[in-house]
């Protein structure tokens, strides 16, 4: 049982780290901060100045949901009929404006209501209750 560091970015771009007890293959660990294939096509890597110095990360131009504030990487999704329950549950979160599920990439893109915050624990609970495993939460730059 290994642990993976789940990285995400705050609104100010400061990097935060949170531990989640999720077993992952090494290959997945290596790509833990990347967005899967379809999203990669429109994702540009660049550098920003932060309080702690220069840091490299990704800017999200999400291809499945413009203006997405949250990108979830969800394991276990293989059929649309199953994934629909996940979309429905996420949509029920009051702070969520729009949600799009990309099945092949295992990506859930969420656009929040402006000014709202969504707690990671709530997202974890929602995905788990829908019958899937949340591997990573990414908050694109500027959120």
């Amino acid at each position: 049982m290994s642990q993976v560091l789940v990285n995400y970015f705050t609104k100010t771009g400061a990097k935060m780290t949170k531990r989640k007890s999720i077993a992952l293959p090494l290959a997945v660990l290596a790509g833990a901060t990347a967005i899967p294939t379809a999203a990669n096509a429109q994702m540009a890597e660049h550098k920003h100045e932060h309080d702690g110095g220069t840091e490299s990360h990704h800017t999200m131009v999400n291809p499945i949901l413009a203006g997405a504030n949250l990108i979830l990487r969800v394991d276990g999704m293989s059929c649309p009929f199953c994934a629909f329950g996940l979309e429905k549950r996420i949509r029920e979160i009051a702070e969520v404006d729009t949600v799009v599920v990309n099945l092949s990439d295992g990506v859930v893109a969420i656009r929040k209501i402006e000014g709202a915050e969504i707690d990671d624990e709530l997202l974890m609970e929602t995905v788990t209750d829908a019958g899937f495993s949340l591997r990573e939460i990414t908050r694109p730059e500027g959120e």
């Binding site: 994934a83 629909f84 019958g131």
Partner: protein, 291 residues
């Protein structure tokens, strides 16, 4: 032949689990307990023939209670039409409610990965004798038990299901055992079912869950049955091994709605004694998610 009709009844009505499989394969029980299992309804109609008996069964499966993602329940209400066509004035038919079945599924193992999952589940199921058992008699006054719509006795079963999904490919298998109670000295033989289903999804990549998809299935559905009992003793012409090769297709029209169709071709009919053979079975259905 009268004894054989009893066995026909058992086969046509005594497989409560196979007809209500709630995973994505058509006839094979899945270990998945997501979405559909938690809020859904399945409609299924099948046409089966064996010997002189034709049975049309329509079932509605509800998923009333899912206390957690690992534990789901279901209720299946069948409506059955049966007809015995002997080509003589003795032809007979019956229509009404079949046996109500209840089931609970517990997914005890889950290993999710990107684009796939491996899951194991156990399913406990039971059938209640709610179906009509009023006797129908032939010209000489013998009851045609095969025309009963219900088994007349409760039955219970336990089943182990495994599902492995990797992208567009899926493998599902189950093995289960069902035991029936006694009705006026008659008892259906114990049944051990086994199923394997291979699936292939089109298109390969799904951009969003709004993408319309089709799934092709090839299933092997088999049942071993022991001999049944009657007040006169063990029925020699009962029990055996039946297996179907079952190609099928599902169309996910909307994320919350799919339609499906399957043909079950009997490829193994290794029965004890002298028994009528099965014909090809046909089934169509739809599944709807309600939230």
């Amino acid at each position: 032949m009268k004894k054989a009709f009893f066995y026909v009844t058992a086969v046509l009505t005594g497989l409560p689990v196979s007809a209500v499989a709630q995973g994505l394969p058509f006839h094979t029980e899945s270990a998945l307990t997501t979405a559909f299992e938690q809020r859904g309804v399945r409609f299924l109609s099948s046409l089966a023939t064996r010997g002189d008996i034709t049975a049309v069964t329509s079932k509605v499966a509800f998923l009333p209670w899912a206390p957690s993602r690992k534990l789901t329940t279901r209720i299946v209400i069948p409506v059955v039409y049966k007809e015995m066509n002997t080509g003589s004035p003795n032809s007979n038919s019956r229509f009404g409610a079949g046996d109500l079945s209840l089931a609970a599924k517990w997914a005890f193992f889950t290993n999710d990965r990107p684009g796939g999952t491996t899951r194991l589940a156990v399913v406990a199921s039971g059938t209640l004798p709610t179906g009509t058992t009023d006797p129908k008699f032939d010209a000489v006054g013998n009851e045609i038990r095969a025309l009963r719509l219900g088994g007349g006795a409760p039955s219970g079963g336990l089943l182990l299901a495994a599902t492995v999904l990797r992208g567009r490919f899926g493998l599902t298998a189950d093995v289960g055992h069902t035991v029936s109670g006694t009705d006026a000295g008659y008892r259906t033989g114990e049944a051990t079912r086994y199923d394997v289903a291979l699936s292939l999804r089109f298109p390969d990549r799904i951009q969003t869950i709004r993408t319309r998809t089709a799934q092709l299935y090839l299933e092997w559905n088999g049942v071993f049955s022991t001999r049944s009992d009657s007040p006169a003793g063990v029925i020699g012409d009962s029990g055996g091994h039946i297996a179907f090769l079952s190609p099928g297709v599902q169309l996910v029209v909307l994320p919350q709605f799919l339609i499906e169709a399957s043909v079950q071709i009997p490829v193994v009919q290794d029965f004890n004694g002298s028994q009528p053979t099965f014909g090809t079975r046909y089934a169509t259905g739809a599944r709807v998610l309600f939230f």
